[in-house]
C-alpha cells in the first residue's frame, strides 16, 4: 500500500530513512515505552541489573527483544523504535550518536566521524 504523506500525495520513499509514523508508533509502543522509562535512574539500574527481567516487564515483541539483545539499532527501528527514545537505551550502553550512526551505516566510528567532518570541508562559514 502506498503511503500518503502530509500533503495527501503519494510520497517517494527516502533511501535509508524510516518515517516514524502512526504504523511505527503503534508497532513500537512497548519498545519506546521501555526506553522512556530510562528517564528514571532507578529504571536504568534495574535494566543493568537484570536485562531479561526488565524486557519482560514491558512486553516487548520477540522482534524488539531480539533487536535489543543484539544491540541492533536498525532492527529496533524496524520494530518501531524511535531514535529519541532509543537514545536513552544507547546511553545505558555508553553509546553516543556517532557510535549509533556507525552501527547503522556499517562504518567504524572513526569512519563515521570522518564522514561527518568531510561534509564540512570547503564550506564558507558565516
Amino acid at each position: 500500500m502506498a503511503s500518503v504523506n502530509d500533503n495527501g500525495r503519494d510520497a517517494e520513499p527516502i533511501p535509508g530513512t524510516t518515517l516514524f509514523d502512526g504504523d511505527a508508533a503503534q508497532r513500537g509502543f512497548a519498545l519506546n515505552a521501555m526506553c522512556y522509562s530510562f528517564n528514571d535512574a532507578a529504571n536504568r539500574a534495574a535494566f543493568r541489573a537484570d536485562e531479561d527481567a526488565y524486557l519482560a516487564r514491558f512486553a516487548l515483541t520477540p522482534e524488539q527483544r531480539l533487536a535489543v539483545q543484539q544491540r541492533d539499532v536498525l532492527g529496533m527501528i524496524a520494530a518501531g523504535g524511535n531514535i529519541y527514545y532509543l537514545a536513552k537505551l544507547a546511553g545505558i550502553f555508553g553509546l553516543n550518536v556517532q557510535d549509533v550512526g556507525a552501527l547503522q551505516t556499517g562504518m567504524s566510528v572513526a569512519e563515521f566521524k570522518q564522514m561527518l567532518l568531510d561534509q564540512g570541508k570547503g564550506l564558507n562559514h558565516g
Binding site: N5, D6, I14, L19, F38, A87, V97
Partner: protein, 279 residues
Amino acid sequence: MAEIVGAYFTSHVPAIGGAIHRGDQQEPYWKPFFDGFPRVHEWLAEVKPDVAVVFNNDHGLNFFLDKLPTFAVGAADRYDNADEGWGLPLYKSFAGHAALSWHIIEQLVHDEFDVTTCQKMTVDHALSIPFELAWPGVEEWPVRIVPIAINTVQHPLPSAKRCLALGRSVHRALAGWQGDERIVVIGTGGLSHQLDGARAGFMNPDYDRFCLDNLSRDPDALTAHSIHDIVRLSGTQGVEILNWIAARGALGPGAHEIHRNYHIPISNTAAATLLLEPA
C-alpha cells in the same frame, strides 16, 4: 506597549552542553561554532529582553507517545529540566510568564489553532542549550519564558505552512499584549541532520543555506516543501526547522538579518546560529 526586539535561532545539539560543561569552547572542534556567539551576547546586551517566547520540541522528557500534542503551549510560572535518561547534566529551571502564556493561548485558539495548554511542563535540552549559549554562566536566566512545543517526533507532523501561520498568530498575540515587556522570540534545533537509519549522518548545506537565506526575507518560501520533502532534504531530525519557521512567524511581517553562523559538523548536525531584527 510590549516590544518584540528580535529573534534568536540556534541548534540544540546535546553535545554542545557537554562542551560547555568541559570548557571546550576554544578547542578546534568547537571553536567555529562557539565563535558565532560573541555577537549574540553583544546583541542581547543591547536589546535587553526580559521575556522569551521559545519554539522547541520535546525529546521524550515531558511527552510520551501515549499523549503527543501537535502544538503545546506552556502556561506555568516555572519550568524545570529533569533527567533525560542519557547522561546530560541537569539544567537550571526557568521562570515562566503564565499571564502572557494565556494571552497567547487565547489568540491561538481564536485563530483556530487548537493547542494543548500545559500548566505543568518539563523542558529539555532543546530549551536549556540555546539559553546556556546565549547567557553563559548566569546564575538565573534574565528572561521569563513562554515555551511552545511543536511535535517533530511522530508523523504526521504539522506542515511548514501551518507552523509559520502558528507563529504569525503568536505575533498577533504579542503585538496586542498590553505589558511593557521586551520580548525575544527564539527558535531552536536543526539544521539538517539525521540520527537514524542507514542514511544516518546525512546533512545538506544547500538546503540549510536556502533556509537561512529565506528566513529573513521570504519565510513563505520555506513552506513550499511538504514534511516529506523536508525530511528528504534535511534529514529525519532536520524537521526541527519547523521551530525556526514558527519563530520567524512570531517575529512579525518583516525582518532583516544581523548575524549568521553556520558550521558542519557539531556531533551529527549542521549547526547554525541566526539573529533577526524586525524590519
